[in-house]
Amino acid sequence: MRFGIIAEGAEDQAVIRNILSAFNIDRSEIIMVKPRLNRDATDENNPTIGTFQGVKNACEGVDGIRPDFDDFFFNPDHVAMIIHLDTAEIDTQGFPFLRPIKKGNPNYCTELRNRVIELINGWLDNNYQDRVIYAIAIEEIEAWCLTLHIKSDTSQSADAKSKFWREVNKKKAKNANNLAELTQDFRKLKILKTCFPYNQSLKDFADSVELATQAFNS
């Protein structure tokens, strides 16, 4: 059983991999789909690689052909693709209308997540829906990481990324520039679960991974 990950960047993939580890999904069972590998150094200047737009392009494909998905599923052991997006990007990427009213809305995270999932499904022309796990970070994946450090709703944080790095620097952590190392604690299910109350989108993602592993194992 193998899972693919399409993410905005390598660091995002690394965080997701740590979360998957909590559900006993080993490194050797994960394929990091890297749109960058579709290109060579000659056209490496393409600005969309490793970004929100890069994930969008991978999902949309060209003329109905989505090589990153079609080719990933060439192997019967490859069961699901995880798609990551940070919602912080939607405003600048032309999708500000997706954002629900935030103030006083207790379902803000769930609503936003569902809308982004709909957006992704649209890009995919509703293909692969039973094979996709959505890793929608509200508002960015550092908000997930921040739950390891502070115990309040990190999706409400104005700038979770800066806040996360401030926390890391404060603690003078080892490997302080490496999200993969800094989120090693996500690999322990017990610790991961303690983070759920502080970021609904993290919990939603983890829940969907758990459900998927149960389904694929049965």
């Binding site: 690394a14 890297k34 960058r36």
Partner: protein, 389 residues
């Protein structure tokens, strides 16, 4: 033919089982443990050859010798093992278990011993040469006797027994060119030594077969062995190669188209070596090739691999091959169960894990265009790209 191998506590392999075909290609990032798989088989071969295994024997088979404490698996957060074991299952369901041990893991001059060798045929043990390792040191005679008993059992039960002759070939150009002679293995050395002598031993049929692959090298008109080594005295080997292999270039004037292997490109030497080893019945029937792609153009890799797969069947050989070149994969037909591709990974704990790469049957018609294995690999779908690339 070997059907399955289980390796425990050997180098980076904590516990891994591989179901083998006839041609087995292993891919994976550097340091994932591909060569360790070949070396585990090499250890079995050495253990069958001699119960007390000296480093020299291991080196002669192409095994990278290391300090014993590094040969037995050595992982953080895992209790260190005291020996390693290898279990082989053959096509006819016989199985052979070998445990390897060394007196002192820190003694890098010590010899490895086969602590336990158990051969099961039809579920009954026919030879157990040495149940107790210590007893071997007390009585040389009984050890020899039991080893002979095992060998007899093997010969009797495996007419095609080939493990003892198993070698890991890892070619290098100076050896192929006849400049170095590090390996004395017969008929050809593991680095490529002695190719000319092997070719000189070929009968007409073998030579004709070998020459039928001339199409792989576009400039090649012919090759021959200067049995008297007389051309050496006419200035054809200024670099003093010990080889008497010569080539004829089809684009050069007939009176000046011959040159020795000193001046030939590396590619033809590698190709000729592999084909000769595959065609010859004097070379091991079960063999490994480490980094088969070395010095070869990608297109040549593909066609050579296709030919090697065909030859493996016609010559009844079994191969373990490692490669880092995606083009090699395009020469593999994964719908043929005898041809298998494996990706080798390290798990989160660092254990080597081998997974057979399967292809959905329903995409067979689309293989040519959409699912070229080389592209799937370079694009990362075979799961063997380093994480942070």
């Amino acid at each position: 033919m070997l059907k399955e191998i289980t390796i425990k506590n050997f180098k980076s392999i904590a516990n891994d089982t591989i179901e083998l075909g006839r041609v087995n290609v292993f891919i994976g990032e550097n340091g994932c443990g591909k060569s360790n798989i070949l070396e585990a088989v090499g250890f079995v071969s050495a253990g069958i050859e001699n119960q007390n295994i000296e480093n020299e024997l291991l080196i002669s088979k192409g095994i990278r010798v290391a300090k014993p404490s590094l040969i037995i698996s050595n992982f953080r957060n895992k209790k260190p093992a005291h020996n390693f074991s290898i279990n082989l299952i053959f096509q006819d369901e016989e199985d052979l278990n070998l445990d390897f041990s060394i007196d002192n893991k820190e003694d890098f001059y010590g010899d490895w011993s086969v602590k336990r060798a158990e051969l099961n045929v039809n579920k009954s043990i026919v030879a157990e040469p040495q149940a107790n390792y210590d007893a071997a040191h007390k009585s040389k005679e009984s050890t020899t006797h039991s080893l002979e008993k095992m060998a007899e059992g093997l010969r009797k039960n495996y007419p095609k027994w080939v493990l003892k002759r198993f070698l890991i070939y890892a070619l290098n150009t100076p050896a192929l060119r006849g400049f170095t002679h590090e390996s004395r293995k017969e008929p050809v050395g593991i680095y490529g030594e002695g190719l000319d002598v092997l070719l000189a031993s070929f009968d007409n049929e073998e030579i004709a077969k070998l020459k039928s692959y001339g199409y792989l090298i576009s400039w090649l008109d012919d090759f021959f062995i200067d049995v008297q080594d007389s051309l050496k005295f006419k200035g054809y080997k200024p670099n003093r190669s010990g080889s008497a292999l010569y080539f004829v270039d089809k684009h050069m004037p007939k009176d000046n188209s011959v040159f020795s292997l000193e001046n030939a490109n590396e590619g033809i030497l590698h190709v000729l070596f592999y084909l000769a080893v595959m065609i010859s019945y004097k070379t091991p029937q079960f063999l490994a090739i480490d980094n088969i792609e070395s010095c070869l153009n990608p297109h040549l890799c593909r066609y050579l691999m296709e030919e090697i797969c065909k030859l493996a069947k016609s010559q009844d050989k079994q191969l373990l091959i490692t490669t880092h070149n995606p083009a090699i994969l395009d020469g593999l037909n994964l719908f043929d169960d005898e041809v298998r591709l494996f990706e080798v990974n390290r798990t989160d704990k660092g254990y080597t894990k081998t997974t057979r790469i399967k292809v959905k049957p329903e995409i067979q018609s689309e293989m040519g265009r959409k699912y070229k294995l080389s592209e799937l690999w370079t694009r990362g779908f075979l799961g063997t790209t380093p994480d942070y690339f």
